[in-house]
Structure formats: structure tokens, C-alpha cells
Amino acid sequence: MKKSCVALLVMALGGVARADGLLITGAGATFPYPLYSKWFSDYNKEYKDRRFNYQSIGSGGGIRQISERTVDFGASDAPMTDEELSRAPGVVHIPTVMGAVVVTYNGPVQGLRLTPETLSALFLGTITKWNDPRLAKDNPGATLPDTPVTVVHRSDGSGTNSIFTDYLSKVSPEWKSKVGAGKSVKWRVGLGAKGNEGVTGLIKSTPGSVGYVELAYADQNKLPMAELKNHDGFFVKPSIGGTSDAAIGVPMPKDFRVSITDAAGKTAYPLASFTYLLVYRDQSEKAKGEALLRFLWWAIHEGQASAAALDYAPLPKKVVAMVEKTLESMTVQGKPISLASSR
């Protein structure tokens, strides 16, 4: 009885999966999820026999699942660490688009400007009042009141945290030694809120607060965004263009595992990052592997056009050329396939 029930269930599930054509499954980061779902649906319209199932369970989950080969591709905002890669040999990072983190606030100034030193001092808790001389120096002409600063950070482990703390670790030795970089860190001060929406809610309801969220989220919700002083000493507003520029000012390693925060370049926005799809260099299933590689090729070419409309920064040409090489070096059952022709 029990056995036949299980068999029925398996058949039913198998039937669903087999329904029409090839089903490619993936799991991982939530940040690029809106863009990926647009890609999957656009791609499916063009190639009716290829369907995608993507679960946005978070970057950590994506890395875990691709390591255990329970999905065909993973997705992560932060590159895998050496330790993680050692548990999943053969995984390749394919940067798909770029995202940025913005500093948002509910403060007494319009168009707040922050230098790296001031930003790290705020989050280290050494600036506690809005009229602190360091804030006054960054914002000449602004009238800053003697009111307390409330720092808000993301309490849930996230790529946003990892970009933000990675940047602060680069620009502030004190931050690096006291806090460090990671998806979850030990914050020195402030209140923790869950998700972009939690941080935004808390900032909106707390006068004098400062925190950080994804650019896409801040843009869609019309939050005030601080201008940050970049590596070359220019104050830059968060923007899609500035985010793409950040990938140009950084020497790009072959495996793309690189942090592009605090990048060089006049227009580079300092809080930027790639988001990646994670795939095995050699695909073990013929039809699925080919389809996946062709999709990746499509994503870094045709797919890039839909990025900006959803507040993601497209890859610069230089990076696209590098990813092309990586994709061409990948194999299906040990044999390379020709991708350029599929365009």
C-alpha cells in the first residue's frame, strides 16, 4: 500500500517535470531574482522547449546546493571562498550583472555626502551626533543639529552585508581589525532590521537614522541616497553607470572571484559587486549541459539589455569578452561546444 503510494507520487512528480521539454533547475541569491525570472521567461519564449525553475533561497543555499549537485546551477552574490570551492571542485563563476549598495538616511540634510572615514566612523559608533565635526566637514554649508545618530544594519545574513562590510574593511583598518567582512558580522553599534524592507521601515520611522540597502530597492522606493567619495576622491551619486564603471577599474582575475568595492576610476561607485551564476566546468548531461551553456551565452549578450530597466548594472564590454572565453572553455561530457554560432 505504502509502496504503491510512493510510486504513484514519484510518477506524478516525474510527469510534471517531464511535461514539456527540458527543465533546468537552479537555486541561490535573492538579489538578482527579479532579473533572473525575467530572463527565464524571455528565454523560454524564444526557446519553447527549455524551462527554468529557480528557487531564491539565498546565496548560502545556492552554494550548498550546487556543491551537492542537487541543482544544475547555483547563484551567489559573493564569490565562493577557497574553502567552499575545495568542497565543490570544478565550479566556475559566471558574473551575470552587477548591483550596488546605497547609504540611505532619515536625517536633517538633503544630499548627504560621506567620505569613507566618516562612513566607517558612523558604523563603528565613534560619530554619535549629527553635528559631529567630521560630518560637518563632508557637508559644508549644511546646518547639522545636535541630535543623535541611529545606525541601522541588516540583521539577516546577506550579500548586501558582505558588500558593505567588505568596503569598510578596505577603507578602514580599524573596521578590518574590529569587525571584518562577511554576510553576518558582529556589529559595534546600532539596530538590526531584517531585509531591505526592514531596514527601510526602520529608517523611515526613526528620525536621525542612517543605514544601507540595495540600489534597486532604494531607487524603486525613492529613498534618499548619500553621495560617497570614491577611491579617486570624487563624490559620486549611486547609479547604474557608476556601478558598471566599478568593474573597469579593477584588475579582473580569470575566475572572476574579485571584490570590486572601492574601485579606481573617476566615476566608479565604491559600493558595487558582481552577482554570479555557479556552474560546473564540465556538464555531465548532454542536452541539459548544452542548453545551460547556451542560456549563459544568451544572458551575457541579449540578457544584458533588460538589466538597467530593473535597476541592475550591465557587465562592461571588457568583462563580457572575458566571460565569453570562460564559456567557450567549458565542456559537455568532456567535449567543447560551439557557442558563438548559437547567437
Binding site: 545574513g157 569587525v179 539596530l191 526592514g198 526602520l202
Partner: protein, 307 residues
């Protein structure tokens, strides 16, 4: 004979179902112990008593989360039990019959609201109100108590406890209401016959009889308060610290698990979170056991006293 076989079959089916519950609980504990091993390698006692929680350097301690969970639950019980008992008395003893269905419908609605909605309400309504009105007032009148010191930020143990109080109120009041309905009418009538007022009848006849049931209701509520995740994490402030003041930001066991588990990749970090789950499980188990003992003690109490 046929009936006999049927009986045996039936009882073995029931036995199997009961066994499955035990098996599931056992498997959960076993898995948690297994996963948490890397984090508990440095010693379980140290894990329990250490306050520091630093995922970057890999140093994990549960104390501030245990403290936050206990404090918010205590606030919730302290606020919700008197209100719930009052509500139940209103519904079963005092309220005008016209109003009763309206009030009980409202309470049932409270129980049906998803916890994330409570959290949002807490963030946008309760927290600003606490920050602007309640906390400054508490500070003015009770500021000499360590419970009400420090800057009123709205977010914190107090906000978490109050949200929980609202959330467990339907549980406690509806169970208490059912308990009060079981109080024999003869007890009330006896009290009235001796010249008691309505309040005296409630105080001297109804409440003592219902006490074990009310205690049970409170413990049911406490169980929910301990495990509540979403609403608490949105208003508690999520900082792993220990403060005597209810105004300060804290953290709770379920909140940190929900916040960090999805993105935890290192075996030690995942292990530490599983360790927290184990601690939460232990606290619930302990309180459940305590509850059973208490209910039995109280149930015996009044019978002896009045004899």
C-alpha cells in the same frame, strides 16, 4: 473474533501514530545534535554561558539570545495574562449577552493574523508610539528602576514583549474562557446565597476552581511566545547584547536562527545556529515539564485548602 482482530488492529494503528510523534521528535534532536557538534566542540557550557557572537572570527555564544527570549516572553506573559483573564471573565461571567459574540469574534480574528503582519504593525505603529509616548512616560515615573533606563529608541525587549503579548492573548483568553465555563453553576449560586457580590463570587468561588486551567492556558501562551520568530525579529533590534533595561535592543533565539541560517555557510556557524535550536528546544521542554508539575500542584491545592 472479528471484533477482537479489529480492536488489535486499531490499537496497533494508534500505537504506530503515537510512536511516529516520538520518532519525529527524536530524529529532530538527533539531527540537531549532529549538526551542532562543530560549534559545541569547544564545550557546551561555554557555548551556553558566552555572550560573544561573532560569525567573522567564529566565536559563538548563546547567552544573549537565551536572555532575550526569556525577557520578551516574561514581558508578554506579565501583560497578556491579566488582560486575558479579564477578557475571559467578561465573556463568561460579566459581559452583556449582546456584546459577547462581538468581543469573542474580535479575539478570534487576532489569532488569525499572520505574524509578519504583527511585525509590520509593530514596526510602523507600536515602535514609534513606544518611542514618543510610552517609554518617556515610563522613564519619568519609574526611571529609578533599572528596567526603564537608557534612551527610548522604541525597538527592543519591551516592543518584542508587547507584540508577543498581543499575539498570545487570543490563546490564553479563549482557553481561560473554556475553563471558566466548566466551573459548576452551583459554586456561583452558593456564593451568591451566602451574600457575596458578583466580584466576590468570582474571586472566592470561580477563580480558585479555575486556577489550574488558567495556569495551563498561560503556559500554552508562553509556548507560543518562546518560539515566535518573525514578529519579534522585526521589533527587537537584533543586537546580541544583554541589558537590564527593557528599552534596550536585544535578540532572541528564533530571530537569530531565521536571520542567519539562510546565508550561513561555515560548518561552525551552521553548527552554532543548530546549537541555538537545541537550546530553544531544551527551554520549551523544561517549561513544559514545569507546567505539568505546576498544574498538578495547583489542582491539588484548593481542594486541600478548602477541605
Amino acid at each position: 473474533m472479528g471484533a477482537y482482530v479489529g480492536d488489535r488492529l486499531w490499537s496497533s494503528v494508534l500505537g504506530l501514530l503515537g510512536g511516529i510523534v516520538l520518532l519525529v521528535v527524536g530524529l529532530v534532536v538527533l539531527e540537531l545534535v549532529k549538526v551542532s557538534r562543530p560549534a559545541l566542540a569547544a564545550g557546551a557550557v561555554r557555548f551556553l554561558l558566552q555572550q560573544d557572537w561573532d560569525p567573522v572570527s567564529g566565536s559563538f555564544g548563546a547567552l544573549s539570545f537565551i536572555y532575550g527570549t526569556l525577557v520578551t516572553s516574561a514581558v508578554a506573559i506579565a501583560v497578556a495574562v491579566p488582560v486575558s483573564v479579564g477578557l475571559a471573565l467578561f465573556l463568561s461571567e460579566m459581559g452583556p449577552p449582546m456584546l459577547k459574540p462581538v468581543v469573542s469574534f474580535a479575539i478570534e480574528t487576532l489569532a488569525a493574523i499572520p505574524s509578519v503582519v504583527y511585525g509590520l504593525w509593530g514596526l510602523f505603529v507600536l515602535v514609534p508610539w513606544l518611542r514618543e509616548t510610552v517609554e518617556p512616560a515610563l522613564q519619568r515615573f519609574f526611571g529609578w528602576l533599572p528596567l526603564f533606563q537608557g534612551p527610548p529608541i522604541g525597538l527592543g525587549y519591551l516592543a518584542g514583549g508587547l507584540i508577543l503579548a498581543v499575539m498570545i492573548l487570543p490563546t490564553i483568553s479563549s482557553v481561560t474562557n473554556e475553563v471558566l465555563k466548566t466551573v459548576p453553576g452551583s459554586l456561583r449560586e452558593g456564593a451568591f446565597a451566602l451574600g457575596a457580590t458578583r466580584w466576590e463570587a468570582i474571586r472566592m468561588a470561580v477563580l480558585p476552581y479555575a486556577r489550574p486551567g488558567i495556569l495551563g492556558a498561560a503556559l500554552l501562551g508562553l509556548g507560543r511566545a518562546l518560539g515566535e520568530t518573525m514578529a519579534v525579529t522585526m521589533v527587537i533590534g537584533n543586537s546580541p547584547e544583554i541589558h537590564a533595561s527593557l528599552f534596550a535592543a536585544g535578540y532572541s533565539l528564533p530571530a537569530v536562527i531565521a536571520n542567519e541560517f539562510a546565508e550561513a555557510t561555515g560548518a561552525v556557524h551552521v553548527g552554532a545556529l543548530a546549537g541555538l535550536a537545541l537550546v530553544l528546544f531544551g527551554i520549551s521542554l523544561l517549561l513544559n515539564a514545569l507546567a505539568r508539575v505546576l498544574v498538578q500542584l495547583v489542582a491539588r491545592g484548593p481542594a486541600k485548602g478548602s477541605a
